[in-house]
Each structure stands twice: as C-alpha cells, then as structure tokens.
C-alpha cells in the first residue's frame, strides 16, 4: 500500500497502538445528534404529560407529515452548507415547480410526465445555480438570492396569483395516500434521510464535499472533483425542493405561487441546529432531521397546549441562538485560536 519501507522503529510503535473502535461512549454522548435526540425526547415526555393527545397516533402522524417538506429541503440545504455554499432559492423552486407541475396536470398531461417535468425543472434550476457558483465563482448567496427572486417571480407570473385546484384525484394519492396508516411522503422522507446520511458518511464522492467545504483550493490540489461536486450539491438541492413541491401540491390538492415562502430560512436554521456550519465542511443529515424534528415537536406543543401560535417564531429564533451558542462553547473547548 505504501512505498515507504517500515522502519523497525515505526513497526514497533504501530504494533503498540491498540485498535480503537470507531465509536467511544464519550464520542456518542458528545455528538450533536445525541444532544438533539435527548432534548427532543425530553420535550416529548413533558408534552405527553401535559397533553394526553400528544402521543396519539393521529398527532404523531400529523407532526411527521408537517415535517416532510422541511426535512426534504433541509437535506439538500445541508449538503450545500457542507460544501461551503448556501441555497436561498429552495423555497422558490418548491413554489415554481409545484406551479409548473399542477399547470401541466390541469392541461391534461399525464401524471408521470408532469411530475418528471417538475422534478427536472428543479434539477435545471439547481444546475444553473451550481454552474454560476462553480464555474463563474460568484458568491452563492447572491446567485441563489437572484434565483430566489426569479423563480418566485416566474411562479407568480404563471399563476397571476391564483390558486390552481381541480387536480386529477390520482395525483393526490402521492401526497395523501397511506401505507399501513402512514402517508407516503413520510416513507420517502425517512428513506431520503437514511440514504443521504449513509452516503454522506460512507460514499466517497459525497464524502469529498467535507474536504471541499473546508478548503476548496487544497481539495482541488488533492485531486478532488471540486467543481463537479459543488454543482452536484446544488442540483440535489434543486431536485429535493422540487420533490417537496410535488408532495406539497399533491397533499394540499392545489398549486400556488407562494408555497414554500420563507422555507429557505427554516431549512438553514434546521441545518445549523443540526450541526452544519456557515463556514462549510461540517454538518450531518441526521442532525438536520433532528433539528426539524425538535422544531416540529415544540411547535406542536404550542398547538396542543393552546398557547398562542404566534409564540412559535420567538421560540424558533431562541432555539437557533441556543444552537449557535452550544457550537461556540464546543469550539472554545476544542481550543480554536482567535487570530
């Protein structure tokens, strides 16, 4: 494997190294995911005492259903944040692809073609983002801000601001159909989370985005396909936003230009709560999922306990601050130098 001859010295040293298992108790307890899971469980226990309705199947399913769009979009967002970018256009892409899909359906195009076209539009918009960022080296914040305005504007132009209802009933199955009493989108969401979490940690091409996000120049000189992977992340993000758009229009049985308004900020917040960093190179899909879950449980609590729903925003903001504070504490302990 190596071109270097082992010196006897080094050989002895390496024999002395005990094989550590990949995971120690300490590293599991210290992980962001564990903390989030524990906090979520704690909240759930408290809520189940305060409101017996919390643990009812109906309520749990409705929490999970409400999460799907955010989880699907935040999955793409996490990849983009890890690779060192940001994607402000996810909410608008959701809106536009939803509008395009429903318009095609209403004009009699088959479901398969309409959905595929919607998803491909998401891929295309993501590819435009990615190309401008990786090829023309333009700040991703600005590129996706522009795309956000364009996609949302296009959606409004196409619909003139109206709702597009009267969708074919068979289309509604996508978002409303159930298997074993659980709506389809939940299965898709869980599948996507597990798939991307696994690929991100274990599949070499996707794993390289951690390197790219940490230091793109060094990654380039290490032989990593930097441009292609940046492009891929934005394409995946566009695709997943479009997928969320399909589910949302199907579930709500209509298309509307303002669907997904503000979703980009929620997705970023969930990713950051889940451990992603604005400077790139950090984050996990599992963490992001738990970030969305935590916010969903808390918001559900507001509803169940008949608190004013208007408090949600305040609490969501505070949780984001808390996540950043925890991160700051962790960094300080790790001994990062200031200058």
């Amino acid at each position: 494997m190596s071109v270097v001859e082992r010196t006897s010295d080094a050989e002895r040293a390496s024999d002395n190294v005990r094989i550590r298992s990949g995971y120690s108790i300490k590293s599991i307890l210290g992980a962001r995911e564990t903390v989030l899971l524990l906090v979520s469980i704690t909240f759930s226990i408290i809520l189940s005492f305060l409101s017996p309705r919390f643990l009812s199947v109906n309520n749990l399913v409705s929490i999970a259903t409400g999460m799907t769009y955010d989880v699907i979009m935040a999955t793409g967002m996490t990849l983009v944040l890890i690779v060192g970018g940001i994607d402000l256009s996810v909410g608008s892409i959701l809106g536009l692809t939803g509008v395009v899909t429903t318009m095609m359906l209403r004009s009699g195009v088959s479901i398969a073609v309409s959905v595929t076209a919607g998803l491909m539009l998401g891929v295309l918009l993501g590819a435009i983002n990615g190309t401008m960022i990786s090829n023309f080296k333009i700040n991703p914040f600005i590129v996706t801000l522009g795309m956000m305005a364009i996609a949302r504007g296009a959606a409004v132009v196409l619909t003139s601001g109206y709702f597009l209802s009267n969708l074919p009933p068979s289309y509604l199955i996508l978002g409303q159909g159930k298997l074993l009493g659980i709506p389809f989108p939940i299965y898709v969401m869980l599948l996507l989370v597990i798939l991307f979490e696994y690929l991100l940690k274990n599949w070499s091409p996707l794993y390289t985005i951690f390197y790219i996000g940490t230091n793109p120049d060094a990654a380039e000189l290490s032989g990593i396909k930097v441009g292609r992977m940046i492009l891929a992340c934005y394409v995946i993000s566009g695709f997943l936003s479009a997928l969320a758009g399909v589910f949302m229009t199907s579930r709500l049985a209509m298309g509307y230009a303002q669907f997904g308004l503000g979703a980009e900020l929620r997705a970023i917040a969930a990713s950051v709560i889940g451990g992603a960093s604005m400077s790139g190179g950090e984050g996990s899909i599992g963490g992001t999922f738990l970030g969305v879950l935590l916010l969903a449980i808390i918001n559900n609590g507001f509803v169940l306990l008949n608190f004013s729903v208007y408090w949600q925003g305040v609490v969501n903001g505070l949780i984001l601050v808390l996540a950043v504070a925890v991160d700051a504490f962790r960094r300080a302990r790790r001994g990062e130098r200031r200058i």
């Binding site: 949302r152 504007g153 900020l265 970023i268 305040v314």
Partner: protein, 342 residues
C-alpha cells in the same frame, strides 16, 4: 538612501473631500442608469414629471433608508437579515405607545431606542458567539417577527395621533419629508464613511479583520455600533411606514431584507467586505426604482418585477466578476515581479 520613488504630484489624489465625494467607482452602473433615464423619457414622456419622480422615490423610500445602514454592514464584511423584522416591530411598538397615550416625540424616541437595541443584541451575539452574522440575524429575524405577531396577534394596530402623520406624509418646501430625511441621511453617512475616523475603520474590518484587530482597532465595539445603526435606520423606516399607512401590522417590510441587500450589491459592495460606498448604493436604489417604475408606467404586470430584479442582480455580479478577474491577473503579476535572493 532611496528605495522607492514615484513621480507625479502626490497631493493630487483625494485630498479635497469634495473631490472624493464626486469620484464615482461604478461607472458602468451610472451609465446604465443614465441610458435608462433617456430611454424611459423617450418611451414615456410622463417619466420625468415631478409627480412620477415622487412616486418613484416614495415607492422605494423604506428600502432606500435601510440600504444606507446595510451598506455599512456589508462593507464591514457582515450581513443583517433582521431589518425586515425590525421595520414592522418598530411600527407596532410605536402604535402600542400611541394607544397608551404616550406623547409623539417620546413615542418616537422610545421605539427607535428599542429598534437600536435589537441591533446591539445582534452585535453582542456575533461578538460573543463568534457566529456567522447570517445565522445570528436570521435568529433575531425569526424571534422579532414572532414578538410582533404575539403583540398584534396577526391584526393591525391603528389609532395614531394627527401630528404623527407628518413624518410619512408631510412636505417641506414641497418635497415629501421622508425623501428629505433620506437625502440628509445619505449625505451624512456618505461624508462620515469617507472622512470620519470611526467609519473609516469599517473598511479595515471588512478588508482584513485580522489585520484590523492587530492594528488595535476595537473590532467588537465597531461591530456593535454598525449593527445598532443599521437597526436604528430600519426602525426609522418602520416609523415612516406606520405614518404613511396610519397603521401597523406584521406584513410591513416583508422580504425587504433581500431587496435591500440586492440594492447594496448592485451598488458595487462586495459580500466579502471591504468594498462599497453610499454613493454606489444610491445609484443601485435609483436603478431598481426606475425598473419598478417602468412596470407601472408600461402597464406590464408587476408580477414580472421580481424576475427582473433577480436577473439584474445576477447580471450585475457577473459583470463585477468579469472585471475582477482582470484585476486579479494584474495583482499576481505584481507579486511575481518581486525578486528575493534564493
């Protein structure tokens, strides 16, 4: 012993502050704006009438005022998303105060103080947590919006005293008061940013934060003031909005943070910091105001304006990138020219 000599009159450059004020960096944008004005005047004779100009100015006045503060924030290498929450929040607070019979001047001062405090909180959190300003101000955006919703419960606050109408609707010498206020603020901040010691530091912090800290600039304190000013201006925009509509609700300023940032970027500031000017931002404001006006005058559906904004933003940065590539090559050559002995 002379190591480096340069010919030419060294005092010719930038000594007079007037010379600096009129020096324009973004000539491309200026030319575009001038061409647009000419084109619009030909297409719509109505374009250059005082009434239309006033409509244009008043249609963009909130964004224009906020863009002044955002320019400073972006030059310092930061970003502030929370302005679009501070705007309605201030409007709502002043409404609440009026409902409790607080005198107008006191109500204005109190609500502006509260707005400024939000900026201070932003600054403290960015400093203390060493977190990215995007995330911190995203958090305050969410939280402050939430507070506004809690206060209004989604409704609208009304019942403003008569004398408050002046701020948003009054005129001085025939000019709308908010426009006058903007002009005063723009001149003030432009002058400060170019010539005041304190505001010059903003360019240092944005240009090279590490270097700024090493040369003894109090980066944390500076940041606090910058975000406070930005929040203050957003609060001012909120008060003007409240006075214009004689009411307050959480829908005010929706999405304005991104419009404001767009304006500043089109005006030539760079998100990586150290670059930008009030003058450039003003040209950016005029540019976007004319585009918005074109939709009104041509009768085209205003839905299109978002698409055009987005397109303009992308074109602006593509052009800037094109020019920067040029400069980069130049700099690299300079570094290569420098020889040291092996």
């Amino acid at each position: 012993m002379q190591l480096y000599r340069e010919s030419g009159n060294p005092m010719a450059r930038g000594v007079s502050s007037f010379g600096r004020l009129t020096k324009i960096n973004n000539s491309g944008l200026v030319v575009t704006v001038v061409l647009m004005v000419v084109g619009m005047t030909i297409a719509f004779p109505y374009f250059l009438t005082p009434i239309n100009i006033e409509t244009m100015a008043m249609g963009f006045i909130q964004e224009a005022i906020m863009a002044l503060g955002m320019t400073i924030v972006i030059i310092s290498g930061g970003i502030d998303l929370s302005v679009s929450a501070v705007l309605p929040f201030t409007a709502i607070i002043i409404g609440l105060l009026f409902n409790r019979q607080v005198a107008t001047p006191l109500a204005i001062v109190l609500s502006l103080v509260l707005a400024t405090l939000i900026g201070v909180v932003n600054g403290v959190m960015i400093n203390r947590l060493r977190a990215h300003p995007f995330i911190v101000t995203l958090a305050t955006l969410t939280a402050v919006k939430g507070v506004s919703l809690v206060i209004t419960e989604g409704g609208t606050i009304s019942g403003f005293p008569q004398e408050f109408y002046f701020i948003g609707q009054g005129r001085v010498l025939g000019i709308p008061f908010p426009v006058l206020l903007f002009v005063v603020l723009a001149v003030l901040f432009s002058h400060l940013l170019r010539n005041h010691k304190f505001f010059q530091q903003v360019y240092f912090v944005g240009g090279n934060q590490r270097a700024a800290r090493l040369s003894g600039i109090n980066v944390e304190g500076l940041r606090l003031v910058i975000y406070a000013i930005n929040s203050f201006l957003a609060g001012l925009a909120g008060i003007i909005t409240a006075s214009q509509y004689v009411s307050a609700n959480t829908g005010f300023g929706l999405g304005s943070e991104l419009r404001v940032i767009t304006t500043v970027i089109i005006g030539g500031a760079s998100l990586s910091g150290g670059k930008g000017s009030i003058g450039g931002t003003i040209w950016g404001i005029i540019f976007l105001a004319i585009i918005a006006n074109a939709f009104v005058l041509s009768g085209a559906p205003t839905y299109w304006s978002d698409v055009v904004y987005g397109g303009m933003l992308l074109i602006a940065v593509l052009l800037e990138e094109y020019m920067r590539a040029d400069r980069k090559a130049l700099r690299r050559r300079n570094w290569r020219d420098f020889l040291t002995s092996g």
